[in-house]
């Protein structure tokens, strides 16, 4: 029997020799959970409200992309890449197309390159808009979601004009693009740039600097820079931790080296560097930068035939190639093996959201269950790409 450390009283409290064991609870979050952005299942071990362990389980959306790719011809893979990250299909197409072009030693037509950069950056904005909107939704702010989707709708309209599809485009092809830009499309893009710029302030007013939003996200799920690098994070998730690394600038592909843009990093304005709010604000800043790139590219877009360099038959010489590009979620890598025949031998994808999610077990312990929603949302995962 132990004596308690209360001041002398008339009676003594009995405290068992062993400290009280509170029951650890196992909580199943997902797969059908509105804040898991698809079908992510996280098994939580909780001590009351505090998470002690979080283990993500994936695979609910597995569609065998890599195996499919081995059984269809080179160009037929492109519609399948669309379906990996369905919020940024253009960027997915882009990486694959560049990889094949480099293997084949193909020079892409100037006009096609400009169109590609415009659509890829538009898609980046669209993807970040979804990230912003749904993140607000996770935290409990409904209205910003409607506003971000309104702007995204305008982008999808632009995509529909140029490619005919709204979500899965199959637009960026090996050696160029599927369709040339129709008459007046460039002006519409510039119009969108003008329209979009003032909207950023609207988001900032309604969500970014809202005190409640800041309280929910600042200092939550802090990823220090060394942890971020150790876990090979990329994209906004890495940059929010203060690491200035953007493949568009550090390993330029396509024609990104011609444009003037800033790499945005998290500065810990309202909390610590690398917290959820930083990941959010990096996306907002990136939309501004993407807007700048789009404006420059649209103004520099030359006349000509964008379909000029699209080969009739895609013949990929024997060899291997690894190509990485910057998608809205981070570094997307395609490792392609060819034996010079009709089909790819292997298409391995390094998917950014998959790697970004891997940091969750490292930062989840010690947070509240409600904060875990904020953390998962701020990682901006797309399960289609994680599971492939």
């Amino acid at each position: 029997m132990m004596k308690n450390n209360l001041p002398e009283t008339d009676y003594e409290l009995e405290i068992p020799a062993q400290a009280i064991q509170t029951d650890e609870m196992t909580l199943n979050m997902g797969p059908q959970h509105p804040s898991t952005h698809g079908v992510l299942r996280v098994i939580l071990k909780t001590d009351g409200e505090i998470v002690t362990k979080a283990t993500p389980f994936i695979g609910y959306l597995h569609r065998c992309f890599e195996k499919h790719a081995e059984n269809v011809s080179w160009v037929q893979v492109i519609p399948y890449t669309d379906r990996m990250d369905y919020l940024a299909s253009m960027n997915m197409n882009h990486g694959y197309a560049i990889a094949l072009e480099r293997m084949m030693g193909l020079q892409v037509n100037e006009r096609a390159e400009h169109i590609r950069v415009i659509v890829a950056e538009l898609n980046r904005i669209a993807s970040h808009l979804v990230a912003l909107g749904t993140y607000g939704l996770d935290i409990g702010a409904f209205t910003p979601f409607l506003y971000t989707f309104r702007e995204r709708e305008r982008i999808l309209d632009l995509f529909e004009l140029i490619s005919g599809a709204r979500l899965l485009y199959n637009f960026i092809w090996v050696g160029g693009v599927a369709y040339d830009a129709p008459q007046g499309w460039r002006e519409k893009v510039l119009e969108f740039c003008d329209y979009f710029e003032p909207k950023i302030k609207e988001y900032n007013d309604i969500l970014t600097y809202n005190k409640i939003f800041i309280e929910r996200t600042a200092n939550v799920g802090v990823i220090p820079a060394d942890l971020a690098i150790n876990y090979a994070l990329s994209g906004p998730t890495l940059r929010a931790s203060g690491v200035k690394y953007d493949l568009r600038r550090d390993d330029p592909y396509s024609i990104y080296d011609r444009f003037d843009f800033k790499v945005c990093i998290g500065q810990g304005q309202v909390g610590t560097v690398g917290d959820s709010w930083d990941r959010y604000i990096v996306r907002v800043d990136e939309m501004v930068e993407s807007n700048k790139i789009i404006r420059q590219a649209a103004q520099a877009m030359p006349e000509g035939d964008a379909l000029e360099t699209v080969p009739k038959n895609v013949k990929v010489p024997e060899g291997e190639y690894y190509m990485r590009t910057e998608t809205p979620r981070g570094e997307l890598g395609y490792f392609i093996v060819s034996d010079g025949k009709k089909n790819p031998v292997r298409v391995k994808v390094r998917s950014p959201a998959f790697v970004n999610l891997s940091v969750l077990p490292a930062i989840a312990p010690g947070t509240m269950v409600a904060d875990l929603v904020a953390i998962v949302g701020s990682l901006d995962i797309v399960l289609g790409e994680i599971d492939r």
Binding site: V75, I78, D82, R150, I162, A165, K211
Partner: protein, 178 residues
């Protein structure tokens, strides 16, 4: 600090409310769908359409499809038969006895549209073709009736038999030829 927090929370919410309030007076961006309709651009990729009169049965579209949802069967036309020509002047040599597109499988990638030499398979902006039964999404474009197909098949079989009996004395043996 406590009061400052409360003040900030209220004030930032009011700023946000101001944004939503201003939106009360802007034009609505939504459409009341069944009553109002958007005009889709002509490139819009929704339902596939095949102008079967122009199809020469070259199977290019079937080969290009990544999910194999087009199935085509053709029968060679007889020597004295004239099937006419397509609208861009290509001569038709094959009866297209079967041209089915399973729109339930189609992934709307439009890969089949580009290789067609006569531009007879196209994407149309018509998107309202939902059905109650998945089987109804199988679109049949061939105009041949079942009887016609039967007679054509019979004739083809007969022709093949005739051909085989015409030159039975030259069996090609792959082993002996090299």
């Amino acid at each position: 600090m406590y009061f400052k927090n409360i003040y900030e929370a209220v004030w930032t919410i009011l700023i946000g409310m101001g944004v939503t309030f201003r939106h009360l007076f802007t034009r609505s961006v939504t459409l009341q769908y069944p009553h109002e309709r958007d005009v889709l651009p002509e490139r819009s990729r929704q339902k596939l359409h095949v102008n079967i009169d122009d199809c020469i049965g070259c199977l290019q579209c079937e080969r290009a499809c990544p999910v194999s949802c087009i199935s085509i069967e053709t029968i060679k036309a007889g020597k004295d038969e004239d099937l006419g020509a397509t609208s861009n002047g290509q001569k038709k040599r094959l009866h297209v006895t079967k041209f089915n597109i399973d729109m339930a499988k189609c992934c709307y990638c439009a890969d089949c549209v580009f290789p067609c030499p006569t531009e007879c398979i196209t994407m149309t902006p018509d998107f309202e073709f939902a059905t109650y039964d998945r089987k109804d999404l199988m679109f049949r474009f061939s105009t041949y009736t079942r009887e016609q197909v039967k007679t054509l098949k019979l004739r083809e079989a007969e022709e093949r038999k005739a051909k085989e009996s015409a030159r039975p004395a030259a069996p090609k043996n792959p082993e002996s030829s090299n």
